[in-house]
C-alpha cells in the first residue's frame, strides 16, 4: 500500500493508506484522532472540518493522499500544551454553544478559519452565513453565533479576556 506523510497537530506522521482512503479515515482510524467526526456522506454537515495548510476543509471530501506533505490541524491540536483552550474553544464553553458535542469539533475548526480570514470583524449575519458548511441540530445556532462573536474579539486582539456571557 502507498504511504502518506504529513504533519498532524505539529507532529510528523506517516502511514500506509489505500488510494481511496479519505483524510478523515486516516485521522480517525489510523491515527485514532476521533475528535473529527463524520455526520453525513454528501459533504454537507461539516462535522469533519479540519485545517489543511491553514484552510478549513471537509476531511470527508479529501483523499488522504491529497494531504501528502500538508500541515493538518484537528480539534485535538487546538489547545496549548499546558491545556489552555483556544479562545474559540473557551467561547463555546462560556456561551453554551454546544449540547451533544458531535458537530462541535467541525464547528470550532470552521469558526476559527472564518474569524482568521476576516480580520475586519464579522457581523452576526456574516457569522451565520459563514457557517453555511456546518450543521448543528441541538443549539439552533443562537449560542454558537454569540460564541464566535465573542471569540473574534479575543482573536483580533480587541479585548484581552473573553467577554463573559450575561449572568442569569
Amino acid at each position: 500500500m502507498p504511504r502518506v506523510s504529513l504533519t498532524v497537530n505539529g507532529k510528523p506522521v506517516s502511514a500506509e493508506v489505500e488510494d481511496r482512503t479519505l483524510l478523515v479515515e486516516l485521522l480517525r482510524e489510523t491515527l485514532r484522532l476521533t475528535g473529527t467526526h463524520v455526520g453525513c456522506d454528501t459533504s454537507q454537515c461539516g462535522a469533519c472540518v479540519v485545517h489543511v495548510n491553514g484552510d478549513s476543509i471537509k476531511s470527508c471530501t479529501l483523499l488522504a493522499r491529497q494531504a501528502e506533505g500538508a500541515e493538518v490541524v484537528t480539534i485535538e491540536g487546538l489547545a496549548a500544551a499546558d491545556g489552555t483552550l483556544h479562545p474559540m474553544q473557551e467561547a463555546f464553553r462560556e456561551y453554551h454553544a454546544l449540547q451533544c458535542g458531535f458537530c462541535t469539533p467541525g464547528m470550532v475548526m470552521s469558526a476559527i478559519d472564518l474569524v482568521k480570514k476576516n480580520p475586519q470583524g464579522l457581523s452576526e449575519q456574516e457569522i451565520r452565513e459563514g457557517l453555511e458548511g456546518n450543521l448543528c441540530r441541538c443549539t439552533g445556532y443562537h449560542n454558537i453565533v454569540k460564541a464566535i462573536d465573542a471569540a473574534q474579539q479575543v482573536m483580533h486582539g480587541k479585548v484581552k479576556e473573553l467577554p463573559r456571557a450575561a449572568a442569569e
Binding site: 473529527t36 458535542g101 462541535t104 441541538c138 439552533g140 445556532y141 453565533v145 456571557a165
Partner: protein, 793 residues
C-alpha cells in the same frame, strides 16, 4: 447553596471533552479484532424476495460472514418488539405484524434491511455488499396515508386488511355532538402535519462483542435508553438473559427521539458477534440514516371547534390519520394516541372533546416519536384551529385565547381527555410574552416592512405539553408494556465524594452538570466532589432512559429520593457519633448537626464512619453509605407557555424569514437557566425547521425523494433568528423538585406560531391556513395565485 446550586448557570462540565475532541461516541469505539458490518438494504418500497445469492459476497476478499433473515429465523431469533399496545374502538387489540430483524420473504420500505455482510474492513464489507444478489418481485407500493387507504391499495402486511393498524378513539362522542348541535359557530380546519426525518448529527452506530469464555455479550450503541435496549433485545429478540448482556450508550450525538427505539442493527451486530466470535461494528452512513432512522409526525387531520356566541369553546371534534410506516417501531402506537389526543384540551376549558385516530401501515420507514411526539401534532392542530376560531368570531387571536384559558384558580384541572393538570398560569406566560415580543407595537413594524416591500406577519401559540413520562400504572392501563419510573443509585464514597448512577441518559442535555448541581445543592458539597454516571447497564441498577422531557422530573426526583435515604441514614450515624437522638439531627450545608447546638459531623466524617465502622451502631445499621431509589411519577408534568413569531416574506420569491422569535415558557423550577435556555432554543430551531424548511417526500411509488441533506432541508445558521427565551414559572405540585421539563417545549410551541405569522403576513392573499413547511415555492404559489383584492372589489 451558592453559585453551583439550583438556579445557577453553571458552565457545563461535559464541554471540556467535547471541545477537545475527547468525546467517546460509539463510532469512536474500536474493539480488538473488530470486524465491520454493512447492511444490504432494499432499493424497493415493496417487493417479494424470491432469492438471495450470497456466494459471491462470501467469497470476496476479507469477508467473514454474510447473514440473511432466514439465518436468524433458523436460530429462533425474534422480531423487533413493539412496546405499546393500543386497542381499537371495539376493544380488540391493534394489528401487530411481525418486524423481522432482517427481511423474510418481503421488503416493505426502501431501506428495509435484507442482509448483513461482515468483513475485515468497512471498505471490504461495502465492496462485498454489492455482490449480494437479491432477486425481487416488485409489488405496487403505498407510501402515503392516501395511497394506503385507497380501496384496493396494496397490502403492506398480508394479514392486515386495509392497512389499518388500529382505529382508536378518546373522549365523549355524544357530549361533543351535543356541543356542536348547540353551537353558535363552528370553525373547521383540515391540515397535514408534515413528516420529518430526525437527523441527529451523529449517525446511529453499534458495536457488538461476545466473550466466548463467559458467554457475555456487550453492545455499544447510540441509544437514549440502554436498559430498555437490553430488555427488549435480550428478552424478545436474541433471548439473551439480562445478566449476560451489557448495553453501553456512551456519548451520544443527539437523539430527539430517534435513538429511543430498538433497531435491527443493534440485534444484528450483537448476534453476529457470537456467530463470528469477533466484535462487529456497524456505523450508519447518513444516507442509511434517512432510510432507517424512525421518522416523525406524518398526520392528516380534520378538526372542528364549536363555539358559543362569545367565542367560548363548546366542543372539539378531531379525526386523524397517522402514518405508522411499514412496521411498528418501539413506541409508535402511543404517539398519535396517548401522547396526542390527551393534549387536545391544551390550555383551554373546552368541555367536550372527541378524537378518532386511525393508524395506517404504509411502505415507508417506520414512524415514531420525534421531539415532542404527538404533542406537537396536537398543539399545531389546536393552535391553528384557535386562529380559525378567531377569524370565524371576528375576534383578536389573543382575545379568543384569553376567553378560553383555564384560569389559574382552576388547578388541579381535569380535562375531558383523561389528563389532570396540576399547575400553570397561562395568562402570566401570555402577558409576559406579549410584552417581550412587543405585540402591541407590531402594526408599526408591519408598515415599516411594507415600505421595504416585505410582507410582515405575527403569530402566536399558547401551548401546553404533558411530559415527565410517566406514572407506570396509568400508562400500563393505556397499553404500555413497560413501567416508566426512573432509578437513581447514590454512592457516598468513604472520603465523602459522591457517585450518582442514573438510569436516564444524556445526549446533549447536560445532565452531568444539572444533576451534579442538584446533588451539590442537596448534599451541600462542591460539584467537583460529585460524579454523574449514566449509559451503562453494568454500572447502573436499572433505568428507563431519556425521552419525553422526563430526565429531571422523573430521574431527578429519583435522585432526590435516594439522597433523602442517604441523609436519613447519615442522621442515624451522626446521632450515634454525637450521642444524640436521630430526630434531633439536622442536615444542612453538608453537615449533620444536633439541632440548637454547634455539635456537628461533616458528610465525609459520616461516610468514613460508615465504611470504617469501628464506632458504629452495627446492630441496628448496616455499614456503607449507598442507596437506590425507584421513583414512579404521580402524574405527568405540564409545561406550557407562549411563543410569538414574527416573519417577513419576500413577495417576489416567497422566501420567509423568521425575524423575531420570543418564547416565555413555564418549565417549572429551573436548575440551570443557561442549559434550559439552550434546550428551548434548540427545540424552537427544530420547530422552525418543521414550519418552514423540513419535509420528508416519497414519490408515489415509495422512493424516498428527500433521501439526503442535498434534498432534505436541514436548518442552517442563516435560516434561523436569534431566539429570545424567558420563563414565567409555576411549580409542579407532585414531584419533589417542582420541575416540569424543557426538552420539548420549543418544538411543540413554535410551529403554530410560525405558521400563524406566515398566514398573518399573507392575510390579504385570501389564505387562512398553510400546511408546513411554508417553503418559498409554496408561499410564492399562494401569492401568485391570490393577488391581493383591491379595496374597490
Amino acid at each position: 447553596m451558592g453559585f453551583e446550586g439550583i438556579g445557577a448557570s453553571v458552565k457545563r462540565r461535559e464541554d471540556l471533552r467535547f471541545l477537545s475532541g475527547r468525546g467517546n461516541y460509539t463510532d469512536d469505539i474500536n474493539r480488538p479484532g473488530q470486524l465491520h458490518a454493512v447492511i444490504v438494504r432494499s432499493p424497493h418500497p415493496h417487493a417479494r424476495i424470491t432469492a438471495i445469492d450470497t456466494a459471491a459476497a462470501r467469497a470476496a476478499p476479507g469477508v467473514a460472514a454474510v447473514f440473511v433473515g432466514e439465518d436468524m429465523a433458523a436460530e429462533n431469533i425474534g422480531g423487533l418488539p413493539c412496546g405499546w399496545q393500543v386497542k381499537n374502538k371495539d376493544g380488540s387489540p391493534m394489528a401487530e405484524p411481525p418486524h423481522p430483524v432482517l427481511a423474510i420473504g418481503k421488503v416493505r420500505h426502501v431501506g428495509d434491511p435484507v442482509a448483513v455482510v461482515i468483513a475485515e474492513t468497512k471498505a471490504q464489507a461495502r465492496d462485498a455488499a454489492e455482490l449480494v444478489s437479491v432477486t425481487y418481485e416488485e409489488l405496487k407500493g403505498a407510501p402515503t396515508l392516501e395511497a394506503a387507504l385507497k380501496p384496493g391499495a396494496p397490502a403492506v402486511h398480508d394479514d392486515v386488511p386495509g392497512n389499518v393498524c388500529y382505529d382508536w378513539h378518546l373522549g365523549d362522542k355524544d357530549a361533543t355532538d351535543a356541543a356542536f348541535a348547540g353551537a353558535h359557530k363552528v370553525a373547521r380546519l383540515e391540515l397535514v402535519n408534515n413528516r420529518l426525518i430526525p437527523n441527529a448529527m451523529e449517525p446511529r452506530a453499534a458495536v457488538g462483542e461476545y466473550d466466548t469464555m463467559s458467554g457475555e455479550y456487550t453492545l455499544y450503541t447510540t441509544s437514549q435508553n440502554p436498559h430498555v435496549i437490553r430488555l427488549l433485545m435480550g428478552a424478545f429478540v436474541l433471548h439473551i438473559p439480562e445478566h449476560k448482556l451489557r448495553v453501553v450508550a456512551p456519548d451520544v450525538g443527539g437523539g430527539f427521539g430517534s435513538k429511543i427505539y430498538h433497531y435491527a442493527e443493534e440485534a444484528i451486530v450483537t448476534w453476529a458477534s457470537a456467530k463470528v466470535k469477533r466484535p462487529v461494528k456497524w456505523t450508519a452512513e447518513r444516507t442509511e440514516s434517512f432510510m432507517s432512522d424512525a421518522h416523525g409526525r406524518d398526520h392528516v387531520t380534520v378538526a372542528e371547534m364549536a363555539m358559543d356566541a362569545n367565542g367560548k369553546f363548546l366542543g372539539l371534534r378531531v379525526r386523524t390519520l397517522a402514518n405508522m410506516g411499514a412496521y411498528l417501531s418501539t413506541f409508535a402506537p402511543c404517539v398519535p394516541t396517548y401522547l396526542y389526543a390527551t393534549l387536545l384540551a391544551g390550555t383551554y376549558t373546552t368541555p367536550a372533546i372527541y378524537a378518532e385516530v386511525k393508524a395506517v401501515f404504509t411502505n415507508s420507514v417506520p414512524v415514531d416519536a420525534y421531539r415532542g411526539a404527538g404533542r406537537p401534532e396536537a398543539t399545531f392542530l389546536l393552535e391553528r384551529l384557535v386562529d380559525q376560531c378567531a377569524i370565524e368570531m371576528g375576534l383578536d387571536r389573543v382575545e379568543i385565547r384569553k376567553r378560553n384559558f383555564i384560569p389559574s384558580s382552576a388547578f388541579p384541572y381535569q380535562t375531558p381527555v383523561a389528563l389532570q393538570y396540576d399547575s400553570g398560569d397561562y395568562g402570566a406566560t401570555l402577558e409576559a410574552c406579549l410584552k417581550a415580543a412587543d405585540w402591541a407595537g407590531f402594526e408599526a413594524r408591519r408598515a415599516e416592512a411594507k415600505a421595504r416591500g416585505k410582507l410582515r406577519g405575527i403569530g402566536i401559540s399558547t401551548y401546553l405539553e404533558a411530559c415527565g413520562i410517566a406514572p407506570s400504572a396509568v400508562v400500563g392501563s393505556l397499553g404500555a408494556r413497560a413501567g416508566l419510573y426512573e432509578v437513581a443509585n447514590i454512592r457516598v464514597n468513604p472520603t465523602g465524594s459522591i457517585t450518582v448512577f442514573t438510569g436516564t441518559h444524556s445526549h446533549g442535555q447536560g445532565h452531568e452538570t444539572t444533576f451534579a448541581q442538584l446533588m451539590a445543592d442537596k448534599f451541600g458539597i462542591p460539584m467537583d466532589q460529585i460524579e454523574i454516571v449514566h449509559g451503562d447497564t453494568a454500572r447502573i441498577p436499572f433505568g428507563m432512559g431519556t425521552y419525553g422531557s422526563r430526565s429531571l422530573a422523573v430521574g431527578g426526583s429519583a435522585m432526590v429520593k435516594a439522597a433523602d435515604k442517604i441523609i436519613a441514614k447519615g442522621k442515624k450515624i451522626a446521632a450515634h457519633l454525637l450521642e444524640a437522638d436521630a430526630a434531633d439531627i439536622e442536615f444542612k450545608d453538608g453537615r449533620f448537626q444536633v439541632a440548637g447546638t454547634d455539635r456537628a459531623k461533616a458528610l465525609a466524617e459520616i461516610s468514613l464512619t460508615a465504611y470504617v465502622p469501628h464506632n458504629y451502631p452495627i446492630e441496628e445499621l448496616e455499614p456503607g453509605l449507598e442507596e437506590t431509589a425507584f421513583y414512579d411519577p404521580k402524574n405527568f408534568t405540564f409545561p406550557g407557555g407562549c411563543h410569538i413569531a414574527e416573519v417577513e416574506i419576500d413577495p417576489d420569491t416567497g422566501v420567509t424569514h423568521v425575524v423575531n422569535f420570543t418564547a416565555v415558557d413555564d418549565v417549572g423550577r429551573v436548575i440551570n437557566p443557561m442549559i434550559v435556555e439552550g434546550q428551548i432554543q434548540g427545540g424552537v430551531a427544530q420547530g422552525i425547521g418543521q414550519a418552514l424548511l423540513e419535509t420528508c417526500v416519497y414519490d408515489e411509488d415509495g422512493q424516498l425523494i428527500s433521501g439526503s441533506m442535498m434534498d432534505y432541508t436541514m436548518p442552517r445558521a442563516d435560516d434561523l433568528p436569534n431566539i429570545s427565551v424567558g420563563t414565567a414559572i409555576t411549580l409542579c405540585t407532585h414531584n419533589p423538585l417542582g420541575v416540569k421539563g424543557c426538552g420539548e417545549v420549543g418544538a411543540i410551541g413554535s410551529p403554530p406560531a410560525v405558521i400563524g405569522a406566515v398566514v398573518d403576513a399573507l392575510k390579504d392573499h385570501g389564505v387562512r391556513h398553510i400546511d408546513m413547511p411554508a417553503t418559498p415555492q409554496k408561499v410564492w404559489g399562494i401569492i401568485n395565485a391570490n393577488r391581493p383584492r383591491m379595496a374597490a372589489e
